[in-house]
Amino acid sequence: MNGPASGTPAEASPEALLASIDAARSQGLAAVTAASTSEELAQAESGLFGRKSALGQIKQGLGSLPPEQRAAVGRALNDAQQALRSAHAEAARELTASARREQLQREWLDLTETPPGPERGHLHLVTQTTERLEDVFVGMGFTVSEGPQAETDWYNFEALNLPSAHPARSMWDTLYLDLGERSELGDGEGGEASNVVLRTHTSPVQIRVMEVQPPPIYTICPGRVFRRDTADASHMPVFHQIEGLVVDRGISFADLAGTLEEFTSAYFGKSISSRLRPSYFPFTEPSAEFDINCVICEGSGCQTCQRTGWIELGGCGMVHPNVLANCGIDFEEWTGFAFGFGIDRLALMRHGIDDLRDMYTNDIRFLSQF
């Protein structure tokens, strides 16, 4: 890249030197401009800077000039070098940036081409519903109690004011366990009360709570329950219930109605309210059926509620004095209420599922919808 301006310094006059500086500067700037890649710019560098460049050679010849002329030429030389450096730096920056731009452009991606990645799993609808219910009651000051799924006849029936020949026992189709010799052991010691059943409701948990915890008691008992029912669209031999129990001083039927109303509007929304109708359960007196406004039509009447505007949710009542007494609680000092309803049906209602069995096929196409 040595230009024609390069000559032997010995021959140079100041004027000629200034002219060649000018020429070298122009040529150098042209070379910088001409470089279209960082590589070309790097190749051009030896012609621009350093001893062998045009300006470098001129600089070497500077010493032969008389000192009084040297300053002007030197200044011109410095200016030219400065100009070339800054042009070079500018070009280098620009070329790096455009190279980066081009490189990024080449990395273009159709983000929708991405094959599916890892998926999040899904909680079972029964779990989701149970947790929602628990949260509402915890917010109302309740604790959550649990107990065994296999129970003695005492906990499942007798303590609940259902002695063995009670006709109301036929309200539950009970599954019994065959524990062989162990059952006989029970028969020997505790009579029928120690027969082992799969709990038909979570009420035995209430008994266990009352046995160990002195009142006041505010607790719910969610859990799995069992009936000797053939599976169909609205029955399963294994399903889930939530029961509630309050035992405190001065608890009245009005407290039961108020608590259920508060739960109803917290869980179903303010547009849904509850009502109580007389009913019968051996473990409560007075007993009631607990209805809510139909969640589909909000009370105006539809097919789901058989045009009544109401849906039967569960049973409730004041804890029977015999039940309190069975747990060693003085029923003159303490009174209480209890309620219970199915969890599975709430899940079905919420999502418009017609067949209870669908919830238990464990089909991922079902599970992954919720």
Binding site: A150, S194, N362, S368
Partner: protein, 812 residues
């Protein structure tokens, strides 16, 4: 329980809108499941058969000339011509005719039509077609005194009548009768209620000369009333009775059976009739069976008695009926019966319940006896039967004078002390004694103010009432029971609503909260929650490769496939995974948190329940269809890091259900808490799973307990000094677990060794047989200084020495 409004009105002047009455009934605890206003069927009228002619083209149809005032038609002499498939009527009979344009109860519209070329100008109706009776074969023959041309339903008094179908709770024996429902409704409406006195005209001999009754076991039978009726001729009961019975769900049979059922429906008193000629000496005895006796009941099946079952026996102690459940064939009334022995008894509720349940014989009668009938109604019901049978039998019957009235152990009258303050407390609203009396007296719970002495005996003068419980409410026995009656008649909906507040805040226990966290960790790891059936087929356990103890069996399973309780979550999740792969979703990963069952614990626990109940253990099970052991190991690590736990794995061969050499036990603080690895491919194949399946099972309780303990772990200061990494690769014999090498490194490295991560494993030509290369990256860092090169080298050497010494390994 079905009741007709017109029938209720025979006991109380009940007026009002049928729908409002339905609301009252529901509000009183007799939920109206269906209300039906009977159609007036204006187009179905009383007509006379004027002539009968054969159909020229058909044998099974005849032509009926029907006379109906104001109508002329194609029949003989201008009568209407109707084609009819029944042949039971005679000229002159009155029959129901559905005229052209009439709508039948089933919605069918009657139009003029031709049958085999002959015009039919209407339809003669059977009782069944009009939903007034069971007979679908013949045309209804109407009483001769009906008004020709008048609408039939209004002639029967049924037009516009209202049929309520009530759901009656087991504690309401009184509501199992028309009279009882009327009593409750009348009290709510504030109108008077009365059971009319039956009128019986007696004639002939004194009953004691032809019949006798003996109660041998008084604890079985509290009262046994008998009447004898002669000159009985069995025939059809009148239409009005048939219609009422049919509408209330009973099939009309004949006059005697119909009257028997009618009395039961009306008064709630089941009763039984014997052919007097078949009962030697008219003797009826009742006792408990000693067991082994046999009797052929009315349904023609032979029943064997167990000890304690209630029996009716004859003079020769031969069984002729099962108390309160079903009579015997040997004394059954028949068309030739002329004298009837009528039994109206009060039985012990539990005895009837036991026997009827055991025999699977639940009848309208046993259902009422089980709940408890009203023994005070025995003479009334006996008389009502006689009155009705006399009315429905053409020419009447003769009733022997007097009744037999055997007495056994009847429950003593119940008196309950009712404190207004207690009522107010229980119901959350003040009730005065007067108010209570106003609510209780109308339903037969008679209130008296306790006198001063009694007040003193009962403590403070609290204005308590003494409430006498009537015999028709055996369910009401305590003050609390009375509270329900007060609430019912005051109205549940009118009682207030208050919300009590727990003195403690609501909360989940730590374990409950952590179980929720665990579920969310699992869901985050891509696992979906399944809920397989906890009941298994007996061989399902073995099919899943699980040996060991016999699973707990159900005594009365619904099916063999669901006859044992799961001892493991594996069979259920295998089935769930297989279901999905068979539906073309072959890489599902599912988890379940659920209880598994084992035999009761051995060793003496203090209370019976703990000794007899099966052990229940909450497990987490995870299956990865199409997954490998690494999936299970990674989840173990994820759970460890989520809950701040150290879960170690120890390779273990031949675990139940697991791949023989691809499985490990999960250890928590050195104690086994679970299993990870791959499922035995043989087990997978048995379940139709062609692909590899990974498995993790862990006992939830110790896991959450440790998580709870670790929840408040203290903060470890993050060092601000630079760290450095050292990579070490060892040749390690295969029998040494990588985790053992890692533990050795951590122990040897000391405080400054912050982490050890296995980053490369190599097996191949460059390694001696039976060894592999394990490469670990060690991160070194001190809390208080920058480690010098010498210090780092020192740690490195300590680590190398320790591994080489402990594991027969060499640095590569």
């Amino acid at each position: 329980m079905k009741v007709l409004l017109s029938w209720l009105r025979e006991f109380a002047p009940i007026e009002g809108d049928p729908a409002e009455l339905a609301d009252h009934l529901s509000d009183l605890g007799m939920a109206v499941e269906e209300m039906r206003i009977l159609p007036s069927l204006d187009g179905v009228v009383v007509a006379r058969v004027a002539g009968l002619r054969p159909h020229p083209e058909a044998d099974r149809i005849q032509l009926v000339d029907v006379e109906l005032p104001g109508f002329t038609g194609e029949g003989t002499d201008g009568a209407l011509q109707v084609c009819c498939g029944a042949f039971n009527m005679s000229v002159g009979d009155l029959v129901p005719l559905a005229t052209i344009g009439a709508t039948m109860p089933d919605g069918m519209q009657i139009s003029e039509r031709r049958m085999r070329g002959e015009v039919s100008e209407g339809m003669c109706c059977s009782a069944a077609e009009l939903t007034l009776g069971a007979d679908a074969e013949g045309i209804m023959i109407l009483p001769a005194d009906m008004e020709l041309g008048a609408p039939l339903m209004s002639q029967l008094g049924l037009a516009g009548d209202v049929l309520y179908d009530l759901e009656v709770n087991p504690n309401r024996p009184d509501a199992m009768s028309v009279a009882g429902v009327a009593r409750d409704l009348a009290a709510r409406l504030g109108v008077s209620f009365r059971i009319p006195d039956p009128v019986v005209s007696e004639s002939g001999e004194e009953i004691s000369t032809v019949a006798s009754v003996e109660i041998i076991d008084g604890d079985l039978c509290g009262r046994f009333g008998v009447r004898v009726i002669r000159d009985v001729s069995i025939g059809q009961s009148p239409l009005w009775m048939q219609a009422r019975l049919t509408l209330c769900g009973m099939r009309p049979i004949n006059s005697v059976v119909d009257v028997s059922n009618y009395v039961m429906l009306e008064l709630g008193t089941p009763n039984h009739t014997y052919d007097l000629a078949l009962v030697p000496g008219g003797y009826l005895g009742t006792r408990r069976s000693a067991g082994g006796e046999r009797l052929v009941t009315l349904d023609s099946s032979e029943r064997e008695m167990l000890r304690g079952d209630g029996l009716i026996v004859d003079r020769d102690d031969r069984p002729i009926g099962i108390s309160g459940v079903m009579g015997g064939e040997n004394t059954e009334i028949s068309d030739s019966t002329t004298a009837v022995l009528l039994e109206l008894a009060w039985w012990d509720r539990l005895s009837i319940s036991r026997t009827s349940q055991r025999l699977g014989l639940r009848s309208e009668a046993s259902m009422r006896f089980e709940r408890g009938t009203d023994h005070e109604l025995v003479p009334v019901a006996l008389d009502r039967f006689c009155e009705l049978l006399d009315r429905v039998t053409p020419g009447g019957v003769s009733v022997c004078s007097g009744r037999l009235d055997g007495r056994g152990d009847l429950p003593p009258p119940t008196r309950v002390r009712v404190r207004p303050a207690r009522m107010s407390h229980l119901l959350g609203r003040p009730f005065s004694a007067d108010e209570l009396r106003g609510l209780l007296d109308p339903i037969g719970l008679q209130c008296a103010v306790l006198d001063d002495d009694a007040q003193r005996d009962g403590g403070a003068a609290d204005g308590a009432l003494e409430v006498t419980i009537p015999s028709f409410r055996p369910d009401v026995a305590t003050e609390t029971d009375v509270a329900e009656e007060v609430a019912r008649h005051y109205g549940y909906q009118r009682l207030g609503r208050t919300v009590p507040r727990s003195p403690e805040p609501g909360r989940l226990t730590p374990a409950q909260r952590l179980r929720r966290d665990l579920r969310r960790v699992l869901v985050g790891a891509g696992l979906s929650e399944a809920m397989p059936n906890p009941f298994l087929a007996p061989d399902a356990v073995r099919r899943a490769g699980i040996d060991g103890a016999e699973p707990v069996r159900l005594l009365n399973p619904l099916a063999t496939e669901e006859s044992v309780l799961r001892p493991s979550l594996l069979p259920g999740l295998l089935t769930a995974a297989a279901y999905n792969t068979s539906h073309r979703n072959d890489t599902v990963s599912l988890f379940e948190i659920g209880v598994v069952f084992g035999p009761p614990p051995t060793g003496g626990a203090d209370d019976v329940a703990a000794r007899v109940l099966p052990t229940e253990t909450e497990h987490l099970g995870v299956i990865w269809a199409g997954g490998g052991a690494a999936d299970a190991v990674h989840l173990t690590e994820l759970i460890s890091s989520a809950f701040g736990l150290e879960l170690d794995l120890e390779n273990a061969n031949d675990l139940d259900g697991m791949h023989p050499v691809r499985a490990a036990q999960m250890l928590l603080d050195g104690q086994p808490v679970g299993v990870v690895g791959e499922i035995d491919p043989v087990v997978c194949e048995r379940h139709g799973l062609a692909q590899r399946c990974a498995w993790l099972q862990v006992n939830v309780e110790p896991l959450l307990a440790a998580a709870s303990a670790a929840a408040d772990r203290p903060y470890e200061l993050v060092s601000t000094y630079p760290s450095s990494d050292i990579d070490l690769a060892f040749a390690v014999p295969d029998h040494v677990q990588a985790s053992q090498v890692r533990s050795t490194l951590l122990a040897a490295g000391g405080d400054e060794l912050r982490s050890v991560n296995l980053f490369d494993i190599y097996r191949g030509d460059q390694m001696d047989p039976g060894t592999r290369s394990l490469a670990f990256r060690l991160r070194l860092q001190a809390d208080d200084r920058t480690l010098t090169d010498e210090q780092a080298a020192d740690i490195r050497q300590r680590c190398i020495d320790a591994v080489e010494r402990a594991h027969d390994a060499s640095l590569r």
